[in-house]
Each structure stands twice: as C-alpha cells, then as structure tokens.
Symmetry: C2
C-alpha cells in the first residue's frame, strides 16, 4: 500500500515525528526522568473540582443536548464566550468569525486542508512549531523560512522570502514555541503591511497569549490588520489574518478545545473541511467549557497559571545561570516573557541529539532543536519546557543537564577539564 | 485564495454538502417540522444519568489525568474495553490493532489522509454513505461504484469494477446508511476472496452492527478475512480489512468517540496522521466512556436502544403501508433488520429534491437520495430516518409524506386523481 504520496509522507514526517517527539514523549512517562521535553501544562494547574462541578451541571440540566450531535461550527454559547474573551485583547469579532476546533492542532490541520496544495510553500519562522510543520507537511507543503532574533522574525528579511510566493505566512508572535521569543510591535506592523501588499494571508497562532508573566501586552496581528483596514461597521472581521488559540494552556488540554478567528468566508471553508474531518467537536466538552467560563473558572485559572509558571520560569533561568557554562563559551538561552518554553543555543559543532542520549543516562530530557527547523539547521539548539516539572525538579534537572553540557564541551576542548 | 484544488473541492463537496445535508440539518431544528432527515439517535435513549455518574467518578478519582494530554492512539483502558467488545463479534485483536478516533467520521478522514492520492478511485456501493464520500473527496478521490439489491452489493459485478484498480473498497455491510440493506454472507465471502486475489484492501464501516432488531448476526468482513488467512498466533490481526465502528449510536454521539481495527502497520500510519490532525481525542471523554463501559452502561443501553428503534422501525413500516401508494405504482422501500434508516424508491421521473420542497411545506423532511450516489444517479430515491422522531410523529410524518407523494404521482398521471 505504499504510494508516492505515502513515500514522501514517510520521508518527511517519520523523521520529524517518530524519532524525535514521539520517542521523547514515551521517555517523559518514565518516572525516574526529569523531563523538560513535552509541552505539558502542570496538572496541579487544572481546575479539576470546578470542571467537575461544571460537567455535573451540564449533564444535570442539559444532558440530552450535551450528548447529541451538534453543529460543525461549534456550540453558540461557547462561541459567544470566545467573542467576549477576544474583545479583551482588542479582537472585535462576531460568532460568525469563529469555529471551534478539537484543539488548535485541528485548526492547523483544517487550514492545511483548505489552503495547501502539494508543493505549495509556507513561510515560517526558523525555528517554528513542530506540530504545525507536521500538519502542513501532510498536505505536501514545502517551506521558506525566515530567521529570528530576540525580537522574533527578522522582518527586514521578509520581503525577499515573500517574492518566492508562499501560500501563507505562519507565525507564533507571543512566547513562541519553541524559542520563547516575542515578536516586537514594529515588526508586527511590517508583517501586516507586507501581507497586505503581497496579498499573502497571515496565520497567527497564539496559544500562549494570555500567559504573559511580565512586560506589556502587544497587539495581535489580527488587531493591527483590522486597524489597517478600518474594520467593517457590523463588527464582523474580514481581513487578512487567520488567528488561532486554545483552552489547552489556560483550562485543560485533555478537553481538546481550540478555536479559529477568521473572515466569514474562510470560516465557511473551514466548517466544510471540519465536517468531513470529524463532523464537530464533542458537544459535551464544549458545553462544559462554556459553563466553566460562565462561572469565572477560566479567568481565575489564568491568574493561577500565570503565577505558577512565572515562578517556574524564574527558577529555570536562575538554575541555568548556576549550572550552565558562561555565555563566552558559546552557550546562550532566551528569557521568555511568557509561555511554556525557553530555547538554548549551544556552540556550533555540538549536536543536541547526541547530547540527549547522554542526558537521558543522567535522567533528564529535553527536545532537540533540529526538527523545529524546516531548513534543516538547528543541530546545536534545544527546547526546554518550564511548565510541567515542579521547582525542585527544575533545579535538579537543570543541574544534571548543565553537567552533561559541560562534559560535552570539555570533550570538545572548549572548557578547561575540571580536576 | 482559490486554487485548482479548492475549485475542485468546491465543485464536488459544496454541491453535496451545503445544498443537501447542511441545509436540511438546519430545517431539522425547526420545531414545527417532523424530520426524518438527519441521522440523529433518539435523545431519550442517551444514558444521561449513568454518564453523569461516570464523568463525576473520573474527575473525582483521576481528574488531573483526565484533563491532561494523552497518547495519540487512545487511552489504554478504552482500547482494552473495545478489545473485549470486538471479541463478542468474533473479531480477535489486541490493543495494538486499535486507534481511538473523534467519531468514526475522523476514521474516514484519517483513512483518506493515509491512503488516497488525488485521482485515486475508491470502490463503493451505490448508494453509499455521504460522510465517507465527503471525507474521501477532500483528498481528491474519484469513485467506481457497484449497485446494490436487497442483499447488499451485487458482488457478481465486482470483478469488473476491481479491474479499474481502485485504491480500496468501502462498504457498510450491516443496515447500510443510507439504504438499510445488509450484505448477505455468501457475498461477504466473495468480497473477501476478491480483495485477497486483487490485493485491494476493504474498509468495513460498521456503525450499526450492534443494532440488529431481527434475524441472525452475520460475520463481519474482518472475521471472514481472518478465517481466510488463519490469524496469527499472537492474536494480533494482520489481514486485508480496516474495520471502523463508533459509540455514537450505542452510547451518545455528543461524546465523539469511534475506533478503527486494522493491522498494526496500518494503525501506526493512522496514528501518525491523527497526531497531525488533533494530537489525540479528548482524554476526559475517553475516560468517561471507559468508566461507563466498566459499569455496564453500554450493554444495558444497547438493549434499550434496540427495543426503542425496533418499535420505531415497525411503526414506520406500518405507516408506509398505510400512507404510501401501492408497489405497482413503482414505489418501494427497504425493510432493514437493524440500524437507523430505510430507503424509498419512487417511480423514475419523480425527483426527490423537488418532492422535498413540497414536503417541507407540509412540515415533513427527509434526505434526497441523489447525493448518496457517487455516479450521479438516484434522483428518484430518498432516505428516511426512524430513530429520532417518536412513534406518534412517525405516524403523522409518514402520513404527510404519503400525501405529498400521491399528489406528485397524480400530477404525473400515475394514479387516478381522488375526487
């Protein structure tokens, strides 16, 4: 049953998926390993009792609706709650601009299904989110990628990349996965203006936007785009940006609930694609989330999660300072203002996949950076998650990892061997 | 943003989807209309209180697991429960032969993603399930279709159709959607033998298998295939059939839970595809279903649903006898032994889409048969659902529909106009 398509699929995704992420997720489950590998939220941050009460109320009051089929675009009450949420961030839309998805991974899949033809090029940041590359690659996407610095995508390099005619641009402007960097405001304006000039849509993936631990909120691309075009009077968005977000990091990932904000015509196409994909997202889960939001669970939990992850980020940054070699050894890392991840750059010549083997022997894990690079670079980078392990384990895990890095550098003759 | 792919997609699926099913589903919601249109289970058949208890137990005892990410192939406990369920029908498999999907619609989508290249031909029954045609068409499928009679696909016509080299065969052997017919045992053997001889896999879609109201259970294709090959000793299935089913008709569709049984190598590819599609199905919902099954909810509910739908089917058949024109007027219908649907054939020249317009004026609805025909035929057919409306509404709705049909035939000069 092997076909040219499957062959290409196997070549491209098996390498990225099976070998790196999937195997690592398995290791995450070994209880003796301190894992900074996955992107798991802290289970102690889940509002279990409050979701339990919401689920009970939904089944008690509207059980047969919650267990029945429902419309593909998603339950009205949940879309209304999202309209309110979005408005807080300046994103002015109506329920017709929203489709509920089974996590934002499904949003990426539906976008791929509707927009990508085999051979189309997608413009991404380098590095970019692995799950998006996986989703798009399934539909035969190729990539053109633009490097980042501490202010996100280097938009001064963007216009050259746009001239190759990408189908759309895909970015995570806030606390990017994997790098943790945030796209600066002037660069957001560059992006939106160039998107407009070249007629190339922007896919803005924003799973972490609510999880800012310091600094000022920066306008999303979708808001800048609406400002550029003077949004229509009916409040229905009709611009150039497809915006995605999720409840996975603010409420709970096990619900599998995300959403897309886009012009009505795009939503209609996504609805058609979703109808063929899974008919609709679980009615029950949507109603539980809507009920929880109405009860204020989401707002309370976002505050709680921010506090928890801010502390864990700080613990990880302090541990890195203590345990890792000096910057003049060619080792550096990002200082994210939010989100779940930070990004370590090692000296050239040091391969993080090799490092991982040794790290696992020392019972600590991370994700090697290469699979996040659609251009095949990044062998000397790695991603650390700071949301899942508790503070003591972060301390201990980074100490172990630091020793592994120092040992590798010693072998390369980069630091004086310790006595 | 219109591309050749999207153009084709628009041409093929918009016609099928928007105009027929989606618009009709909207009408279903109008409370004054008696709808035999959708495929909705009876809400009074949902075990609401029992699912409420199961959900509460899951969140009380394992809340943080239920709300966390989980593996793509699905929760082990649910896959174990499915292994036990499958064994009752002679389907001997291990958990490695199973992937949990977000409803069986997602199984169809994943099969399309893994197996179909644009232009590939899929062999189907005529008529066939609209949701499958929709899912496969998204990946650029074309169709070769084989007509059915009261014993299902006419397998004496199959070999000619196989010579055009379809990628796989797609069938619903039990109480087919839309026709309600069941594939006879000798034909199942024909199919499996031809599948083996031509090396063309069979996709066996079995959402209604447990809902048999009379007659003897007939072996699934996957069991016949295993018998043909003498299944391996380790109990892990490795044959030519990909089998799908769902909890949507036996437990509740709002959960969105289905599964695939297939050889391990196929499951691995489906897992990769699902990882890009939605990472995994809701952990919470999977654990609630597993808990409910452990508590005996599924078995009790299947018995309840069988009783309820058997009566409704009988009421509909009796009402059709009373209200519809005689068979010698060219009107006939199937007598399904299970499932949710029966199928009406009208005299040639009578268009069921036209009929629908008039039916809606009389406040009764159904699904026109043409969209279920990949070959463009079937204008004189329609599908009736007997699971959703209660007995009094079935009686009244069929009486209304009968009057509409009689009037149409009168206009065609087929029956003497009544005084």
């Amino acid at each position: 049953m092997t076909t040219p398509w499957q062959h290409r699929f196997a070549q491209r995704t098996q390498r990225m998926t099976s070998s790196a992420i999937r195997e690592l997720l398995k290791l995450t489950e070994r209880p003796d390993i301190i894992s900074f590998g996955g992107g798991l939220p802290a289970p102690e941050a889940f509002p279990v009792d409050e979701i339990r009460a919401a689920a009970d109320a939904v089944l008690a009051r509207k059980g047969s609706t919650a267990l029945q089929y429902s419309t593909t675009e998603g339950c009205l009450r949940l879309r209304e709650a999202i309209v309110v949420q979005m408005a807080r961030y300046g994103i002015v839309v109506t329920v017709d601009n929203i489709i509920i998805t089974s996590g934002s991974q499904q949003a990426l899949d539906l976008i791929g299904k509707v927009l990508i033809n085999p051979g189309d090029r997608i413009l991404t940041e380098t590095p970019s989110y692995l799950g998006a590359l996986q989703a798009f690659t399934m539909f035969g996407a190729d990539y053109v990628s633009v490097p980042c610095d501490d202010d996100g995508m280097r938009t001064e390099l963007l216009e050259d990349a746009l001239r190759v005619g990408p189908k759309f641009m895909y970015l995570l402007p806030n606390f990017q996965n994997p790098s943790g960097v945030t796209l600066a405001l002037p660069r957001r304006w560059d992006l939106v203006r160039l998107s407009d000039r070249y007629g190339i849509p922007l896919v803005e993936d924003d799973p972490y936007g609510q999880l800012r631990y310091e600094g000022e909120h920066i306008k999303p691309l979708v808001v800048i785009d609406a400002e550029l075009r003077h949004a229509e009077d009916d409040g229905c968005y009709s611009g150039n940006v497809i915006y995605l977000s999720t409840f996975s990091k603010t409420l709970a990932p096990g619900l599998r609930l995300g959403w897309v904000v886009a012009p009505r015509a795009v939503i209609e196409r996504l609805v058609q694609a979703k109808q063929g994909s899974d008919l609709h997202t679980s009615t029950f889960v949507q109603m539980v989330a809507a009920e929880a939001i109405d009860r204020g669970v989401l707002d309370r939990n976002v505050k709680r999660v921010r506090e928890l992850y801010r502390r864990r980020r700080d613990v990880m940054l302090a541990a890195l300072e203590r345990a890792f070699p000096d910057p003049d050894m060619g080792v550096g890392w990002t200082r994210p203002q939010g989100g779940l991840f930070l990004w370590v750059r090692l000296p050239h010549g040091l391969d993080s996949l090799q490092l991982l083997t040794e790290a696992i022997e020392q019972r600590v894990a991370f994700v090697p950076g290469a699979p996040f690079h659609p251009d095949g670079s990044g062998a000397n980078t790695l991603r650390l998650n700071f949301s899942h392990a508790d503070e003591a384990h972060i301390d201990e895990g980074i100490a172990r990892l630091g020793r592994v890095v120092v040992r590798q550098l010693e072998r390369m003759g980069r630091v004086p061997a310790r006595a």
